[in-house]
Symmetry: C2
Subunit: 93 residues, 2 copies
């Protein structure tokens, strides 16, 4: 499993960005407006998510629209379930 997605998901701001994007694609500015951080700070977070392929961007005029890459998230979740999920662990007690 790609290391990047773990780092991407380990930050609360980035997780909140993902939750925002679950509601549909948004521009960088729209995303930034939900936070009290400076705009470049959010831009960098978006870049981390992009490098992990958790989001995808697309320019639309002067705007840049970000959307979730749900496949990557779901693959990650499936991997987590497989590796850390409730498998039978027959210990003595």
């Amino acid at each position: 499993m790609n290391e990047g997605i773990f780092k991407a998901m380990s930050d609360p701001t980035r997780r909140k960005i993902i939750e925002l994007l679950k509601d549909g694609p948004k521009t960088a500015g729209e995303i930034a407006s939900h936070f009290s951080h400076a705009q470049p700070t959010i831009s960098r977070h978006l870049n981390v998510l992009k490098n992990a392929h958790v989001v995808v961007d697309q320019r639309e005029g002067t705007f840049i629209i970000y959307r979730l890459n749900t496949t990557v998230l779901q693959d990650w979740l499936a991997w987590l379930m497989k590796h850390f999920g409730g498998e039978n662990n027959d210990e003595k007690e």
Copy 2:
């Protein structure tokens, strides 16, 4: 959701420790023997996992035995599924 578990899970060494412990409880030394890191390094990783309540320790003579807290892991996975899992996201296209 507790921030600690995200940080705990974001490191590959710690994830490998968890996978080792899925196989059953192990002493700190036994865990450390699976890595090429110095033993105190692993001890510190174990401490991170302990602080996130992902593992639990128990002294047994001079040994300290670590075991998984599977409940915490499963709660975390459930939370992830709920927040990032495949909910219906009816976008136009």
